[in-house]
Point group: C2
Chain length 326, copies 2
């Protein structure tokens, strides 16, 4: 499958240019390890800062080479989390959603690759300022937190900017990439590889409740929205400009457009949200998947997902390049 | 350039799978003819229904084979426009934004290809119901009117649906495609070709004022938003669910989030908007471009734009398929 060899596969010494998104709660050590074993690189989701949970997830990765990702503004509230995690020798540390500056020296000193996820061109400038090894251009199609740029325009624009200002920096495309067509498209747009969230959220190894995963199979790509309501329900101080893409369901139907009322009744609605999430109720809580829902028709092992992405992308690339006159 | 031969180029008998978006006001006969002469197919923008303007634009196309596109809900208010236009023997008629049913028989009887532009999966179902020859999957990156799905997920999902239900129907990708990387990516995603708006809005032949075109060169892809404000200012009854992507400027800064106030003061603000538009003032009116702004660095002849898209896409496809082990 040499056709998928890129600067990313060479620098990371991996077989395929596929990295798993460090999804909070869902992306544990088993999923990260499975993605790495399948030839990509798995990232454990650092989430909102639970040191013992993170320790368990590195244990679950069972010595497999993996990385980790953090929500940057949240990491600032408990920076010792990074120090703890770096003792596990992650291959890469990804920072998303906030100023990376306070953390870059420590990450670099530990020998981990510095990955900065970006949602707009200003973020890309910031990432180059801190000399990120890898920039992730994340489009609005992505499940979970993100912003407004579409993947299809953001990736080539970021690629041009990087080529002009820091050509050795690698670029990953994120947001809506769930199959080999998306991987092949990302390479055409100028990315060195892809970051995959939603498709791996719908894997056997993801830490996602069964009824939540069942609901992605019942949804098409129209069935999601970008919203602030889960962050209000959880009283998480997400910075302005970031929203979450989640499934459209009874919870979002009830609260979207009534954010102030939700904030006022959070003493009741907050615990109700958390209970529904813990129980795997797909209606009373956020269900965290993106627009790629319409491309996902089975919950499968991560290795099968990565393998099919690779073979499908290879086929697409060969088929089009080998095209004969019509 | 046989590498870019697709079902679309064969069925339309064109050299390259590139069709110009029928941009209201901006996409006149000169632009459409230039795109057709360059090897694609140009579509004249039918806009909001001005029969004499449309006649002039077909004259400006000067016998070149072109098509035309209509805003479907608007066409319902003046259906004779379609009857008039069909006398010009357009190669294709594209319908966007509304129920195509009232018009399909007349289009088909005139021997024109029926193109239905879609913004979500429900629209795709409708397009197959009326046996559209071509479905356009338009993502939210697009300039002008559209909806919320991202191009990167919508195109492959539409491709799967079409393959399952009406495999002879062709598929175009639209929204954010402005260079050869976007064209190559669209082919990877399963499209038979692309519909190009913003990149051709920024062409010499487009009917766009100089200062409006200058403002796209000063903007990156972060500099746009989706909004209802120009439709409120113009008192155009756009159906719910559709918004316009335009440049972020003094006009949108002033009115975005204050839509009701704008509606109340439309007796003053409406004429002010129209005057600014007519004068080519880039601050006091909507400037109609999409997220591809960040990929556009010169106002060029349409033939140069099409030619570079073709050579760049060909190179991208060959380069990746020919990749050797790293």
């Amino acid at each position: 499958m040499a056709i998928l060899s890129t600067r990313l596969t060479r620098i990371l010494n991996i077989r395929y240019p596929i990295i798993s998104a460090p999804m909070a709660f869902a992306g544990g050590g088993a999923l990260a390890a499975a993605v790495s074993r399948a030839g990509g690189l798995g990232l454990i989701g650092g989430g909102y800062g639970d040191s013992s949970w993170l320790g368990e997830q590195f244990d679950a990765a069972d010595g497999e080479r993996v990385g980790v990702g953090f929500i940057t503004w949240s990491l600032r509230r408990s920076p010792s989390l990074l120090t703890d995690v770096l003792k596990q020798h992650p291959a890469a540390v990804m920072l998303s959603f906030g100023d990376p500056r306070p953390f870059v020296d420590e990450i670099r000193a530990a020998g981990a690759l510095l990955v900065c996820q970006c949602q707009n061109m200003e973020h890309v400038e910031d990432a180059l300022d801190v000399r990120a090894d890898v920039v992730v251009a994340q489009g609005a199609e992505a499940g979970g937190h993100g912003a407004l740029r579409g993947t299809l325009t953001f990736v080539p624009e970021a690629a041009d900017f990087i080529a002009a200002h820091s050509p050795a920096t690698l670029l990953l495309a994120a947001g809506g990439i769930a199959d080999g067509r998306g991987l092949a498209a990302a390479l055409m747009l100028g990315a060195d590889g892809v970051l995959v969230g939603t498709r791996l959220w719908a894997s056997k190894e993801a830490l996602v409740k069964e009824r939540h995963q069942a609901s992605i199979l019942a949804s098409n790509g129209d069935g999601t929205l970008r919203t602030r309501v889960p962050d209000i329900a959880r009283q998480l101080p997400w910075p302005a400009g970031f929203t979450a893409r989640i499934r459209r369901n009874a919870f979002t139907d009830r609260w979207q457009g009534r954010e102030e009322e939700l904030a006022r009744s959070v003493a009741i609605e907050g615990p109700r949200y958390q209970r529904a999430f813990a129980e795997g109720d797909p209606d009373g809580t956020a269900v965290w998947f993106g627009e790629a829902a319409g491309l996902i028709h089975a919950i499968e092992p991560a290795a099968a997902i990565v393998g099919r992405m690779v073979s499908e992308a290879t086929l697409q690339l060969q088929r089009h390049a080998g095209r004969t006159p019509g």
